[in-house]
Amino acid sequence: MLSRDADSLYWLSRYVERAENTARILDVAYRMASMPISYNGVDTNEWESALITASALQGFRALYDEVTPENVIDYLAFSEANPSSIQGCFDTARQNARSVRGALTSEMWESINSAWLDLRRFKSQTLQVEDLPRFLNLVKETSLRYDGSALRTMLRNDAYWFSRLGVYIERADNTARVLDVKYHVLLPKDSEVGGGIDYYQWAAILRSVSALVSYQWVYHQNLRPWLVADLLILREEMPRSLAACYAALSRHLDDISERYGTSGNAQRMARAAHARLTNRTIEDIFQHGLHEFLEDFITENSRLGVAITNQYLG
């Protein structure tokens, strides 16, 4: 296929995934912020961590004086100055979709196009904070619909594989950032969560990746920080974990190399990163420092993105 088309597909999927992730981040901030202070703790600023998780704090500070719910929602959901705002993501996603109409199934195109039309009806100036969940739900449903139509309607060929690569690179990045922002609350080893601040912080982390219930099914016990990290980093059965993302990345890169008859740097990098995740234990990771591990992971992940671009999309 055309390199430009593969590039558009890859980024289309990344932007849809990014919009969903930002919606999840805002959703968690909204829930945490609406808790009574006695539950939530006085010293956490959920809206600020939302900005950090979305790696948007710097851009935000350049435009606003104060971290208020309204300002954060404006910047992360609507702002034209933020190319990764939810509306910015859908603008770019739709532009990419328009340029590869032929490589998309009509179901995929319709999911993007109708979301783009619907979301434009929400305006920052008129959105009440209480309306936020409705807006965020629409974003999450769109992402589900896009993903679902890709899974159910696309031919299993390179177009499909490149679009999946975009999803998993973006998703791995997001899960790592969600963990990294909260790593300090994950530190106390083996301590059981007693309620109050920590419980909600950890529950929030899990909820932001739709894993609160899954946690119970996997571990059958109360929330423990190391297990939260274990679930989101090493457990392949957890669909948003780093290990699951890398299983998928290396599988789809292999699909491509098998079809094309040659493999390269991207395949080697993905396979190595996947192996590093399958051969680790969570104790090992904590001993070497969770924060350092996550930082390295985020860097490696974006390097893989560059390798994919150089090998196929340039």
Partner: protein, 473 residues
């Protein structure tokens, strides 16, 4: 009711009703208005969802608009179509012979049928095309000929559109939407299918591939997603199952054209170009073009790639050349033209100029190279000031203008808030010319002026479209 002097496609001249519309008329009598209203709303939703929009130049506000669609079909009998299609084939075949001649032996110029300066001074004349031998002698693989009628008898050609005619995606989508909305009505008669258009287009393009390419790679070349017809470009590429490329996806090495793919360079044999000649190759035409492919024309001249339509076809479809087409048809085919031309005053001729400037109030004046309804004056509907302004422009550059009588274009009913109402229509059938034969799908794109009394059907000027049914004989 309709003006009695205007021919209506459904009701005829005398309001008696025409046979091709019998089934539709009966059905309409029994269909409640709410049903039509509901179907119309559904149609709009369908179009909105699939995203068939077009961009309007010079209108940033309405960046993407839906082209209005009217649910009442325009119907042609099998007999009407058979005569019309013969006329189209005759005309486009002659125009292809004409192009081959003026870029070759120039017999028609030597015979004095067409004035030399109309060719050599034409902005669309491309000396780079001289002496080339094209596959099957075909220059215009895709023509979108605009025809109108004023009575039961004759079709008149308004424009030949031999460069990059658009609209065929609307023709196909209109049919898809009608099949979804009115399956019952459509089952009541035998409507000839048009869905094979894309197969015919692909067959046409493959037939003109360079000699020796046995499984030719075809691509559609688009200026990009900001172009007003981008939707159509991607639609056609998708339906043909070929790549939609922009100039930057292609490059030329050793006079061979390649596209950049995820598996490295891949050779391209046939380019269905939807870019104006001017922008094809910055080394040969406009050097500021970022849309084109450096070296493309060299590869073309070396016979390593086919560009359809060929560069330089515009010389045969400007409005000054138009008036010579009947003579062109006679010269190359030896037959009388089946389709008529609208009588045309060429302002470059002094007598004609005088007549035109004296009678602007009853004429339509067009720029020789204009298109899309831009740069034209509809005399009877224009203000005095607009006419005076246009008169100055015509006197300033007479050779840039032609004039035609204001035709009483036929009308066809559309569905409005107040029920059915007649509106003026034209028809753009698409004529595919391959190295093997000419292909036509029955019908074409019917464009309709939605404003009462308006004669301008262009989508950029507020026109809409309808499905066009050709009945089996």
């Amino acid at each position: 009711m309709a003006d009695r002097s205007i021919f209506d496609e459904m009701n005829g001249q005398d309001g008696q009703g025409r046979a091709a519309y019998d089934v539709l008329q009966d059905w309409l009598k029994s269909a409640p208005t709410e049903l039509l209203e509901r179907r119309r709303a559904e149609a709009e939703l369908l179009f909105r969802k699939v995203g068939i929009t077009f961009a309007v130049y010079g209108n940033a506000e309405a960046e993407e608009r839906l082209i209005p669609f009217d649910i009442i079909p325009r119907i042609l009998s099998g007999r009407e179509w058979s005569r019309l299609s013969q006329g189209l084939e005759q005309r486009v075949t002659a125009l292809n012979m004409f192009l081959k001649d003026i870029y070759g032996a120039r017999e028609i110029l030597r015979a004095g049928i067409v004035p030399e300066e109309l060719v050599y001074q034409n902005p669309y004349y491309r000396p780079q095309m001289n002496g080339l031998s094209l596959r099957g002698g075909v220059y215009v693989q895709v023509a979108g000929v605009d025809v109108v009628r004023v009575d039961d008898e004759d079709f008149y050609v308004l424009e030949d559109n031999l460069r990059t005619p658009s609209g065929v995606s609307y023709m196909l989508e209109n049919r898809e939407v009608m099949l979804r909305l009115f399956p019952d009505l459509m089952a009541m008669q035998r409507i000839r299918p048009i869905e094979n258009y894309v197969n015919e287009l692909l067959a046409t393009l493959k037939s003109v591939a360079p000699e020796g390419s046995n499984r030719p790679t075809v691509v559609v070349l688009t200026p990009g997603s900001l172009n007003s017809a981008y939707y159509e470009h991607s639609f056609l590429a998708d339906r043909m199952g070929v790549e939609l490329v922009e100039g930057r996806d292609l490059f030329v090495r050793d006079e061979v054209v390649y596209m950049r793919t995820t598996q490295g360079p891949k050779r391209v044999d046939v380019i269905y170009s939807r870019i104006d000649d001017d922008f094809l190759d910055p080394l040969v035409f406009r050097s500021d073009s970022a849309l084109g492919v450096p070296g493309l024309i060299a590869a073309y001249r070396a016979g390593n790639v086919t560009i359809a339509n060929a560069p330089g076809t515009g010389v045969a479809d400007d409005k000054a050349m138009y008036s010579y087409v009947p003579d062109i048809v006679r010269f190359y085919t030896g037959e009388e033209p089946i389709l008529k031309n609208v009588p045309t005053w060429r302002c470059r001729e002094p007598d004609a100029l005088k007549y035109v400037t004296d009678n602007l109030h009853e004429l339509v004046v067009k720029e020789v190279n204009g298109s899309g309804g831009y740069g034209m004056l509809v005399g009877p509907h224009a203000t005095r000031e607009a006419r005076d302004e246009f008169r100055r422009r015509v006197l300033d550059r007479p050779d840039n203008y032609i004039a035609q009588p204001t035709l009483a274009l036929s009308t066809s009913p559309i569905f409005t808030q107040n029920g059915l109402a007649p509106r003026h229509v034209d028809l753009r059938p698409f004529v595919l010319s391959g190295a093997d034969r000419v292909r036509l799908v029955p019908g074409g794109l019917t464009r309709v002026a939605l404003t009462e009394g308006s004669l301008v059907v262009n989508s950029s000027q507020g026109g809409g479209t309808k499905d066009t049914w050709v009945l089996s004989e």
